[in-house]
């Protein structure tokens, strides 16, 4: 969509380059994230899409530097406003987390303490990063709850997490993430457990947020249709790598990678009613013993001999990358 227009100006909010996060287990090395690169600019939403085990969540945790042993970032750079977080000292990360970078989890109870009232938790979060009086912190907490659409925030501040419904709890978790007006939010499947009408409400709030505050958002999900309506760019992950990366329009309307094509084909609404769904045969390979070459080759209808070599990430069309030797290209377009 927008090539290197802003490249000369301020650095993008987040630029991940060749990130590798491996799990060094007794049974062997699991390359959960392998050579992943992407960029998120101010006010933009990147949809990080993949199935279970594709490495999308570990990518999110790596950006937060929250990967636990035996996982380790073994290579690459995570540039936050130009500063490399991979090499940042732990104390600096502690200052950034919850302050300038925030995370929203699938289960809001990961964020919330069940035995503390909402106001206690929100004021604590405020005071952890800024010198602010309790009264001002409470005021900010109240405003933020209102912003994410919680009715009568004054009363709700005095409630405990269990007194909220699932959707409201997720709103509180989002409000806590927003308290310090972060520049970057990593959201890991935050609406997956919610009902559609509630999900719609939260997605609407998030859109408003990115547009008005300039917060950059990484939205991790398995649901292509959520990302279609929400994101500016999409990165499709498969077996720890990004298979395809580009704008929402490019990736969803003109997918290059056979995996993206297969994924889109298996969505029921893309098939004629009652007819067999186009399915991807087989299942995701174990990361422990990947075959050499493209990890998708065993399931790929376009696989050829060359696929036994490692495909590089290549800009096959302008600003539209894929890691594939034999991408889907329209007849009139010539392969680069």
């Amino acid at each position: 969509m927008e090539p290197n227009v802003a490249a000369t100006a301020a650095p993008p909010t987040l630029q991940v380059r060749n990130l590798r996060t491996h799990f060094l287990t007794r049974a062997g090395v699991v390359p959960a994230v392998d050579d992943v690169s992407f960029t998120v600019r101010r006010g933009k939403v990147l949809g990080l899409v993949g199935e279970s085990g594709s490495g999308k969540t570990v990518t999110g945790f790596s950006v937060m530097r929250l990967v636990d042993e035996p996982g380790r970032i073994v290579g690459g750079e995570i540039l936050f406003n130009g500063r490399d977080l991979v090499r940042a000292p732990e104390e600096e990360m502690r200052q950034l987390r919850g302050n300038r970078i925030a995370m929203i989890f699938q289960d809001p109870m990961m964020t919330l303490n069940p035995v503390l009232r909402i106001d206690t938790q929100m004021i604590e979060t405020m005071q952890a990063h800024t010198k602010v009086s309790r009264e001002d912190a409470r005021q900010r907490a109240r405003d933020t709850l209102g912003m994410v659409g919680i009715p009568s925030p004054d009363e709700r501040l005095k409630a405990y997490p269990h007194q909220f419904s699932g959707g409201m709890r997720q709103r509180v978790a989002i409000a806590i993430a927003l308290l310090h007006r972060p520049e970057l939010i990593v959201a890991d499947e935050p609406t997956t457990a919610l009902d559609v009408t509630i999900q719609g409400q939260i997605l609407a709030e998030v859109q408003k947020l990115a547009a008005t505050t300039g917060t950059a958002i990484i939205w991790i999900t398995h649901d292509l249709s959520v990302v279609a309506g929400l994101a500016d760019d999409i990165a499709v992950m498969y077996a720890g790598r990004i298979a395809e990366y580009g704008s929402v329009e490019d990736v969803l309307d003109h997918p290059l990678h056979p995996y993206t094509v297969g994924l889109l084909g298996s969505v029921p609404s893309r098939n004629r009613r009652g007819e067999p769904l186009r399915q991807i045969p087989g299942m995701t390979p174990s990361l422990m013993n990947l075959p050499p070459g493209c990890p998708f080759q065993a399931r790929c209808p376009r696989a050829a001999d060359i696929c036994r070599q490692d495909p590089p990430m290549a800009e096959i069309l302008p600003a539209h990358e894929a890691r594939c030797f034999r991408p889907h290209l329209a007849e009139n377009e010539v392969a680069a």
């Binding site: 419904s165 509630i198 999900q199 398995h222 309506g229 009613r273 009652g274 067999p276 186009r278 991807i280």
Partner: protein, 354 residues
């Protein structure tokens, strides 16, 4: 009997004859009784009472042979409770469920046993519905052996056949459930249900926990089995895309009541009830880019304390006085299309259905 396999069901020629399940005025209540201290306080005049949830409230539903009925709703709408009652594993508090035209509770002996076997259920989480200590062959073979559908000598072959039909390699029959992936576990659940030769399957969110590419495989399996075995389905899901793809008819529930019921095309083209309309507007679709996500205001109310009148009125953009006071009835707005909304009685509001 097998004239319309895989097709939309024919209209009922002989009432009763082709109906596999008829749910008539069925309700299910769950009560949380007061504990000892509560009972004493209540005796002393403290206003405490048993808390009663009307999980399912006066539902009528007919499923014809060979049909796939999609049952849709959000959490707490009673769709799973209704599914369990239809499958025969939960008795209703009120109302009757007719199995092939006869009251299920009145069936005796062999007939009762057959009715139980012929309605099977497939659950959302195969890990919690498969015994982790049994091998796959035992999980699948136990029931047909007990019910005499196969002899012990032919059991191994019978189990192999069930596994192949569900897309599993019989070579894995000595494995335990934890050695399979999520999609394969769901296939085990399907093979187990089919092993007792049912005619009717209740699938409760059976593909909700699966990845999209695996979900497509399982949905294709359901459709293939429907053709091959002439199965009838009640397919419970919150995913409208899945329901639209699979179902002949869709039933939408909200807080224990059916609010709309119509053939699938009609629901997705001309939804009548404001709840159905807002549900459809909330569903994210791949085709919708930079979408202004439609927001239904408010939350799903607690079923412990549902709103008066029409349960949807606090969230409904069209609500008027009557909606707060009077429960609307589910009535026909077009042939085969029923809706529970007062707006259909308002002459000036005829345009709403469009």
């Amino acid at each position: 009997m097998s004239a319309a396999v895989g097709q939309a069901p024919p209209p009922a020629a002989m009432p009763g004859a082709d109906r596999i399940i008829e749910v008539v005025g069925v309700s299910r209540r769950f009560a949380k009784r007061l504990d000892f201290a509560g009972r004493i306080l209540a005796k002393l005049g403290v206003p405490l009472r048993d808390e009663v949830v009307h999980a399912v409230d006066g539902v009528d539903l007919t499923i014809r042979r060979g049909e796939v009925v999609g049952l849709v709703g959000e959490s707490g709408c009673g769709k799973s409770t209704l599914g369990r009652m239809v499958a025969g594993i939960l008795p209703p508090s009120d109302g009757t469920i007719l199995w092939k035209g006869r009251d299920r509770t009145a069936l005796q002996g062999k007939e009762a046993r057959e009715a139980v076997l012929q309605a099977q259920m497939i659950f959302q989480d195969p890990m919690s519905s498969l015994n982790p200590r049994l091998k796959v062959a035992e999980i699948i073979g136990e029931a047909p052996l007990y019910h005499g559908l196969t002899r012990r000598s032919g059991l191994a072959e019978y189990v192999d056949e069930q596994m192949r039909r569900a897309g599993l390699d019989p070579a894995f029959k000595a494995r335990y459930p934890h050695q399979f992936s999520g999609g394969q576990r769901q296939r085990i659940g399907i093979a187990r249900a089919l092993a007792v030769q049912p005619e009717f399957l209740v699938c409760d969110e059976s593909v909700a926990a699966l990845d999209v590419s695996i979900q497509a495989q399982i949905l294709n399996l359901f459709m293939r089995l429907r053709r091959e075995l002439n199965l009838t389905y009640l397919f419970i899901s919150h995913d409208l895309g899945v329901v639209e793809h699979l179902s002949d008819r869709v039933v939408i529930m909200y807080l224990g009541r059916v609010v709309e019921e119509a053939p699938t095309e009609t629901v997705f083209a001309r939804a009548n009830h404001p709840y159905t309309q807002s549900l459809l507007a909330s569903v994210p679709r791949i085709e919708a880019r930079k979408k202004a996500f439609a927001t239904v205001k408010g939350e799903i109310p607690s079923p412990l304390n549902p709103p008066s009148g029409c349960h949807f009125h606090p969230r409904c953009p069209h609500a008027f006085d009557r909606c707060r006071a009077e429960v609307p009835v589910l009535r026909e707005v077009a042939p085969g299309h029923r809706s529970r909304c007062h707006l259909n009685d308002e002459p000036g509001r005829a345009g709403l259905a469009a």
